[in-house]
Amino acid sequence: MKMIVDKVLHFGTSACAALAACVALSPALAFASGEESGGISAILPNMDEFIPMLVAFIILWIILAKFGWPIFDGMITKRNNTIRESLEKSEEARVESERVLAEYKQELESAKQQATQIIADAKKTGEAAKAGITEAAQKEAADMIEKARAAIETEKKAAAADLQSSVADTSVALASKLFGEGLSVEEHRALIERYVNEAGSFNAG
C-alpha cells in the first residue's frame, strides 16, 4: 500500500511539473490574445490558450493512462479479488455453518432417539425386575407356607407318635403292675403251664 502511495505521489509530482512547464510557457500567449479580442470571443476558446491546454491535457491524460491507470486497475482488481475471496469465505462459512447445524440437528435427533430408547429400556427392565421380584416373593411365600405345613405335619406326627408311645408305655406299665402284683402263685403257675404248652419248640428257629 505504501508503495502504491509512493508511486501515485511520484506520478503526481511528475504530472504537476509537466503541467507547470506548459503553463509557464503559455501565459504570455494567453494574456496577449485576451487583450486583442472581446464580445462573443470572450466565451470562445482562445486557440492560443486552448491548444497548449489541450496539449497539456493530452500529455496529462497519456501520463495518467500510462502510469496511473494500471495502478488504479490493480487496486480495483485486488479489491475485487479481496471482495470475492471474502464472499467465498463467507459462503464457505455459511455452508459450513449449515453443515454443522445439520450435524447438530442430526445429533440432537439421535440423542432424542437414544433417550427415548433408554427410557423404554429402563421401563422394560423395571417391568422385568418388578415381575421377577413379584415372582420371587410369591415363590418364597409359597415355600414358607409349604415348610410351615410340613412342620405342622411333622409336629402332628411327632405328637401322635409321642401320644401313642406314651399310651403304649402306660398300658404296658399298667399290665406289668397287674401281672407282677395282681397274680397269685397258682395263677402264675397256670400261666406257665399255658405258655409251656403253647410256646414254640426248642428246635424251632
Binding site: 401313642q164 404296658v172 401281672f179 403257675r189 406257665i192 409251656v196
Partner: protein, 186 residues
Amino acid sequence: MPANRFLEKAEVEVYANTLLDSLNSEGGIDAVMEARTQMEQVVAYNRSHTELINASSSPEYSPEQRNNLVKEVFKGMSPALASTLGVMAERGGLQMLPRVLSAFNELIRSKLGVTVVDVVTRVPLDDHLRELITNKAHNELGGTVVLREQIDENMLGGIIMNAGSKRIDASMNTMLEAARLALKRA
C-alpha cells in the same frame, strides 16, 4: 498258649473231657451239675473282673505260682474243677474257660446222654410243671432231662427255658415288650 485254633480247640476238649470224667467218676450226674453251676459262676465273674485272668496269664508269675493262686482262689469249689482251673492257669489258658464250659455242656449231652434245661420263673415250679417241662424237653431234645431251676423276682411272669444254645422265651416281660413295640409301630 497254642496259637493254632485247632490246637486250642483240642486243648479245650481235653480240659472238658478230663473234668467231666473226673466229676462223673467221683459223684455222678449230681457232681457234674454242681461243677457246671460253679463253672458258670466263674465265667460270669470273669466277664466283669479281669484281674484273675490277667494274673493267671502274667509272665511275672511262674506256672506253679499261677496254679497255686487259682487253686487257692477256688478252693471252696469242686476239687476236680479247682484242679482243672489250676492247670489251665498254669498253662496260661484260663481265658478259655467259656469255651471249656460250652464243650463241657456238649459232653454232658453227648457222653452222658443228659439234656440240661435251665428254667427261669418268677414263682417256684411244682411237680406238675416240672413233669410238663421235662416231657417237652425230652420229646424235642431227647436224652435224660435235668432241670436247673432259678427264681427271678424281676420277672413279671411266664417262663424262660434254655437248653444249651436253644432257648424258649415265654416270659411276660418279653411279651409285654413286644406288645409295647407293636403298639408304638401301629
